[in-house]
């Protein structure tokens, strides 16, 4: 489905004063926290290199690592399922939930399940999915969409959340104090944790050699969801595999510092298959492709698959900070979304996203796995022009004409004489917000010839 273009959605988002202020406050705070904890690490650049190398190693032989992962998980008592696309993955989760005798699941915050629209797909099958991450709960109760990878309700403030909880959680006397709000969410969630028999999670990492799956989180809800239910279903993008358990060391140093600006996140849950008498007694790992193999086929674009979903690129992006996550119309907003969405889905459906960037390079500078996002954006712009009919005809003609002018000194100098016509040219997108410069009396080359 073709998404509405970024430039069409952005103006209304830019006008949301409360959202602008929330985004500015939140991203400014988290940028400063990240900068401080990154500066503490003496070998941060070497660590980034290592992170990139580990992910590249995994991606270079993805099939081999995935089959090793399957063997390790199976040997540890888990069951592995392969899903080509969202529909297959959703169907597997629904079937496993019903087979476990449940019509409810409790969920750990997960980008992969957002990507495949799992909650909606389960609802259509009569299964209720309960989000247990505080921000995901807020988004779910409000019937809203997440606008940030890590902080899905970043566009909401606590008065809005108080009103939402008063209405939806039956807590009419709630104040907007954060401690009261979280306590209300806790009372609500605790009942779910203790009663629902199926947990659904994503995976930050999965180690091919041991079959160990890792989920990193802050609130402890993930620990609840991965330990209390009798059945645990994990939906994991195939690019999340790491060759070795030992690779977790570097990744767990890179991720929290880049993500929440913490030295270490509060909860890191690791599990390997099933342990009799302890935790879930059935574990299902769903390996999700959903466009990843196709992305891997693009030698430039494939680096996007290194992403560990830290969201550092969102927090430093001046475009994201102002336009917000909803302007991107993709599960993955911000700079990483602008290179992931057009590759995971159809390029034709997200043609505007590679242009939703000034190519300022702030994202590349902070990326813990060194994804050269600006280069991939430019590459995808090229693919949009070459492979889709999206570029406006008038633009194509203008670009060709400009190239012909630049190809010849004579034509170029003739065109320079027209600089005073900038007064007449259709420059409204420029002049809506800025003055035009006064055209100089002499071009540089005219001055050079005269001196």
């Amino acid at each position: 489905m073709t998404a509405t273009k970024f430039q069409v959605l952005a103006p209304a988002e830019l006008a949301k004063a409360q959202q602008r202020r929330n985004l500015r406050t939140a991203t400014t705070t988290i940028r400063a926290k990240r900068a401080a904890v990154v500066a503490e690490v003496e070998d941060w650049e070497a660590l980034r290199e290592q992170g990139a190398r580990i992910k590249d190693e995994a991606l270079a032989n993805l099939d081999v690592h995935l089959e090793r992962l399957e063997a390790s998980v199976t040997a540890a008592g888990g069951t592995v399922h392969w899903a080509r696309d969202a529909a297959q993955a959703n169907a597997i989760v629904a079937r496993l939930t019903r087979e476990a005798g449940s019509d409810e699941v409790i969920k750990v915050k997960s980008m992969a399940t957002d990507e495949i629209g799992l909650n909606e797909a389960l609802a259509a099958q009569g299964i209720t999915a309960h989000e247990t991450d505080l921000a995901e709960l807020i988004v779910q109760l409000a019937g809203d969409r997440p606008s940030h990878i890590l902080v899905p309700a970043i566009h909401r403030n606590r008065v809005e959340i108080r009103d939402l909880f008063r209405e939806k959680l039956g807590e009419p006397d709630l104040s907007s104090e954060p401690a009261e709000l979280t306590a209300a969410a806790r009372r609500h969630l605790r009942r779910r944790f203790l009663s629902v028999g199926v947990g659904v999670s994503g995976a930050n990492f999965a180690c091919a050699d041991t079959g160990t799956v890792a989920v990193v989180e802050s609130e402890g809800n993930g620990r609840m969801c991965t330990t209390l239910p009798h059945t645990l279903i994990t939906v994991m993008g195939i690019e999340k595999v790491l060759p070795r358990f030992a690779d977790l060391g570097a990744m767990l140093r890179l991720l929290p510092r880049s993500s929440t600006g913490e030295r270490m996140n509060p909860y890191t849950s690791l599990w390997t298959g099933v342990t009799p008498g302890d935790g879930p007694q059935a574990f299902h790992l769903i390996l999700l492709d959903n466009g990843r193999t196709a992305t891997l086929a693009d030698p430039v674009g494939r680096d996007a698959l290194r992403c560990i979903r830290c969201s550092a690129c969102l927090n430093v992006c001046p475009v994201y900070e102002r336009a917000g996550g909803h302007a991107y119309t993709s599960t993955y907003p911000g700079p990483i979304g602008a290179i992931l969405a057009p590759q995971l889905a159809e390029l034709e459906d997200h043609t505007s996203l590679p242009w939703a960037s000034s190519l300022c390079g702030a994202c590349y500078e902070v990326c813990p796995v060194k994804i050269d996002i600006p280069t991939i954006l430019v590459h995808l712009r090229g693919r949009v022009v070459d492979e889709t009919g999206d570029a406006p005809r008038v633009e194509r003609l203008a670009m060709r004409a400009a190239a012909a002018v630049f190809a010849s000194r004579r034509r170029y100098e003739a065109a320079q004489a027209a600089r005073r016509l900038t007064r007449l040219a259709p420059l409204r997108p420029w002049t809506r917000f800025r003055e035009l410069p006064d055209p100089p009396r002499q071009t540089f080359r005219e001055w050079w010839a005269d001196r």
């Binding site: 001046p318 000034s358 190519l359 090229g382 070459d386 570029a391 190809a407 809506r432 410069p437 080359r445």
Partner: protein, 232 residues
Amino acid sequence: MRVALFITCLNDTLAPEAGRATVAILERLGHEVVFPQEQTCCGQMHANSGYRQEAAPLAKRFARIFDDSSFDAVVSPSASCVGMVREQYPRLIGRTVPRVYELTELLVDVLGVEDVGATFPHRVTYHPTCHGLRGLHLGDRPLRLLRNVRDLDLVELPEATTCCGFGGTFAVKNADTSAAMLSDKVRCVLDTGADVCAAGDSSCLLHIGGGLRRQRAGVRTMHLAEILASTG
């Protein structure tokens, strides 16, 4: 030294003063400046807009003109166009062009000069452009040059490393978002109380200056080279 000037199409046509200033600085320092007249555009606009097929011949044309062993160096008063040659040419045409420097790189790294003998009695704030800062990693080279300008009152720009919102065709394709970024940059410039906002890329200055003029803010934009060329 025999230095070839890569003026850039934008400076040549809309900001010739940046080129004249570059010539003045280098000649004052005793170097010979030559201007290859065949030069037009490095192809950046096409490449960054996705028109690779149109960009590649322009890149090859640039290489033919500037890969000339009779030049000791090629200099440009544009970090963004130098970045194009250095970063994007290898992917686009399989090679870069050697010895192409942004002005402050040439002055500080190649010529070893930080005091170019300039005088400029004004309050100035400096915006490090993205391609200079994160592309070429110019670091504090421009500031070192500015600190040695006599009578210049240099004031630090708040949130200096944030993009001004120009971004080439981004400024027109995503004009609203670009303007939102511009309004923050303009606010930061005004907060400094400077009467001049300087930068090393005329493209960004066109955008920032266009915003300042729209608000009748009474703050001038100048290319860094113009300040370094000034003798009071």
